[in-house]
């Protein structure tokens, strides 16, 4: 989850680990400057968009309610979840002990290597960051297109393919997200979603080294997506020497990390591991329910843990 492709990163990590990190009584780390004015302006814009959407929703809801009253409820409404359909608050985690150690490893790795790199990256001019981010996001569309096809969601497949074509050409190899401006917003998917469409459950919770919180299905999905990228091999970027892989994968990983506002143990809490686990699996299960929008929810079997 934290990064998309660890491939090629390992040697680099070793070198940095050997370089060591000083740790006496005091450590001062300079961070990229905070930008409160811009953050608040963004929040204000969000709030306005949300208010507009809510107003819309209210109008629509009123229209729908009238339709229902008249006895002709819209047929496209997904069947409703009830509290009995919710998964248990407990999460299926048979590898908990191992996972907890991996979580600690990831936290240390993040603190010592990943985050400093991401913070360095965030000091680059914004235009460079945006272009880099767009470039990698654009490459990511390839696996989304193929997975949408596998999921028979052709409308999304066409839109995503359209985005890829537009951004790769007019957007100069993906550096500029032109498609967003012509009302083709990004919608990504992956092989894990494809598996979910075919009814595969998330399975055991898994903390993957360097990648972070995941499930068995998401882990397989990740490998599947990597396989798709390898097979398609856009621009011959996905095959070749380790150096070439590192030259692509390290900036990719750093960009991905810089765009995730998460800090290990910012909660200071010994319960962070299980709280993240709880949220991650619930988030995925609700997303799965969205993939099977029109199927009737079934209550989980008695005693089953979430994800099982």
């Amino acid at each position: 989850m934290i990064i998309a492709r660890p491939h090629g990163l390992l040697g680099f990590v070793g070198a940095l680990l050997l370089a060591g990190c000083a740790s006496n009584g005091l450590e001062i780390r300079s961070l990229p400057p905070a930008t409160p004015a811009a953050d608040n302006a963004a929040a204000a814009a969000n709030a306005e968009a949300l208010a507009a959407a809510m107003a819309d929703e209210t109008t629509n809801a009123a229209a729908k309610a009238t339709a229902t009253d008249a006895g002709n409820a819209p047929a496209d409404r997904p069947p409703l979840f009830t509290p009995a359909d919710a998964p248990s608050m407990r999460t299926y985690d048979p590898f908990e002990r191992l996972n907890r150690f991996t979580y600690r490893f990831n936290a240390r790795f993040d603190d010592a290597i990943f985050l400093p790199l991401a913070n360095g990256y965030r000091r680059l001019p914004l235009s460079v960051q945006t272009a880099t981010h767009n470039f990698f996001t654009n490459l990511d569309e390839v696996k989304s297109v193929i997975n949408y096809v596998l999921q028979f969601r052709l409308r999304y497949a066409v839109r995503t393919l359209g985005r890829f074509v537009v951004n790769s050409t007019i957007g100069i190899g993906g550096l500029i997200d032109v498609a967003k401006d012509i009302k083709m917003p990004r919608a990504q998917t992956g092989f894990s979603d494809t598996l979910a469409t075919y009814g595969v459950h998330p399975g055991p919770y898994l903390v993957i080294p360097l990648l972070g919180p995941s499930t068995l299905r998401d882990g397989i999905g990740f490998a599947g997506d990597y396989g798709i990228n390898w097979a398609v091999n856009v621009g011959d970027l996905y095959r070749g020497s380790y150096w070439k892989a590192a030259a692509i994968d390290i900036p990719w990983a750093v960009d991905a990390r810089a765009n995730v506002d998460f800090r290990y143990y910012a909660t200071g809490s010994p319960f962070e591991y299980q709280q993240i686990r709880f949220l991650y699996v619930r988030k995925r299960l609700i997303e799965d329910a969205g993939l099977r929008r029109y199927s009737r929810p079934t209550p989980p079997p008695a005693g089953a843990e979430a994800g099982q």
Binding site: R29, N40, A41, R97, R100, Q274
Partner: protein
């Protein structure tokens, strides 16, 4: 995508909604509100509860600077207790510092209950203070587990004097080791919620010890009696959620179903911040739902504080003092048990046993009395450098406490009509007044 905030939102949504059926008429909810709700209690005031949950709308924020330099300081403090395995990540106290490049006053900001040094409220205060020309040091609450482990001399958080002593010592250690280029002309302290009370007590300690020469202190929405405030929060939890894990489970199921339905009705392909913000606005609507969200937020902070206190005090409520948990150990059962424990259980089973043993001649009643702002009443009354800001509908104060604050501070307190608990922190008026207070230009509330 902003993952952390997405998770926080998801957490609030999945855990913090009234279990009652959706569309109950407003009147029934009000009937469920505590009988103590009076004009100054805020518990029955929708606007106050809503403000407490959603905070200051971005459009009403005070002007913020474009860029604020920021560094993170991790410091090891010699008086801290040995770090238990399960807290391996809290070895050093982490604070955040923003330096002006010319000589300037230093404002030290203390977070509220359970907050780290970089809460969004601390970040807001950092922005406005830096914009007003201060160096800014933002610190966690002494009830934040990172502080309890790395900076508390007892490990049992929640004692106003002990916590403030530890805070004061930590401030000295940090200020002494700031880079040499940072020139400090004077030091002021401020804090919100419990951090406000801590700030005032820190200033009172400094008046005796004279180590930092703290000039002014501003309390934003402070409690008066910690015990009264926590009792009110316990009651809020019991009324809006219940008392057992079954109640929490019911709340969770209800909310899960609601989120799943909202998600399936949307055209989203993943749960992102935008979806959750929209969902929050749809799902959190009634007083009971706001109350549940507030009560649960405090409860999740208490869970951490309780765990740490029980571990350090060796009181054995949920942690076996002879076999404390290790890194790989499952803690789900421990958290489940702690989630049912109110503040009053922390007081009677961890806090009181610990402090009664260490303070000869103390009683439960004296511990409660010692955790009131009264302990610095003389200073608050006579020293013109203490200030406060609060709201008439702040749910952590009762009417008598609000009156006490007004009587004690006189013209050095401003009481806004609305805002609930911290729901107006950052708005133009609150910030303008706060900056006048900090600079000594305050001439009393405008009538």
């Amino acid at each position: 995508m902003c993952l952390h905030r997405t998770f926080v939102l998801l957490a609030v949504l999945l855990l913090a909604r009234m279990a009652a059926a959706d569309a109950q008429p407003q009147g029934e909810h009000s009937a469920m509100m505590p009988a103590v709700a009076g004009p100054a209690t805020g518990l029955a005031d929708s606007a106050g509860l809503r403000a407490t949950v959603f905070g200051t709308p971005p459009q009403q924020m005070a002007p913020l600077p474009d860029r604020v330099p920021l560094s993170e300081i991790d410091i090891k403090l010699p008086w801290a207790n040995p770090v238990p395995d399960v807290f391996w990540f809290n070895k050093k106290l982490r604070v955040w510092f923003s330096a002006q490049d010319k000589p300037a006053p230093l404002a030290i900001v203390i977070a509220g209950t359970g907050g780290d040094g970089n809460t969004s409220k601390n970040a807001t205060l950092r922005g406005v203070l830096y914009g007003a020309g201060y160096h800014v040091l933002t610190m966690p609450s002494p009830t934040f587990p990172g502080f309890i482990v790395a900076a508390s001399s007892t490990g049992v958080a929640g004692d106003l004097q002990q916590d403030s002593h530890d805070l004061y010592a930590a401030m000295q250690a940090i200020v002494a080791r700031l880079p040499r280029r940072v020139k400090i002309t004077e030091i002021d302290v401020l804090g919100y919620s419990l951090g406000g009370a801590n700030a005032a007590v820190v200033k009172a300690i400094d008046a005796k010890e004279q180590k930092l020469h703290i000039h002014r202190a501003v309390m934003i929405n402070p409690p008066v009696s910690l015990f009264t405030s926590i009792t009110r929060l316990d009651r809020l939890f019991a009324i809006s959620i219940g008392t057992s894990n079954e109640d929490i489970d019911r709340l969770y199921r209800q909310l899960y179903a609601e989120l799943a339905n909202l998600y399936r009705a949307s055209d989203k392909v993943e749960i992102d911040e935008e979806f959750l913000l929209g969902a929050a606005a749809v799902v959190l609507k009634t007083d009971a739902e706001f109350s549940a969200a507030i009560a649960l937020t405090f409860r999740l902070d208490l869970v951490n504080m309780f765990f740490a206190g029980d571990l350090y005090a060796r009181t054995g409520v949920v942690v076996d003092p002879n076999h404390p948990p290790k890194v790989g150990d499952p803690l789900e059962q421990t958290e489940l048990r702690l989630r049912q424990m109110p503040f009053s259980a922390y007081f009677s089973r961890v806090f009181a046993p610990y402090y009664l043993q260490r303070r000869p001649n103390s009683t439960s009643a004296s511990l409660i009395a010692d955790n009131r702002l009264d302990i610095i009443a003389d200073a608050l009354r006579t020293d013109g450098d203490y200030y406060a800001q609060t709201n008439s509908d702040d749910l952590i104060l009762d009417k008598a406490e609000l009156l006490w604050l007004e009587k004690t501070l006189g013209s050095r307190i401003v009481v806004y009509d609305h805002g609930g608990h911290l729901g107006n922190l950052g708005d133009r008026t609150q910030i303008a007044d706060m900056l006048e207070m900090l600079a000594g230009r305050w001439s009393g509330p405008r009538s």
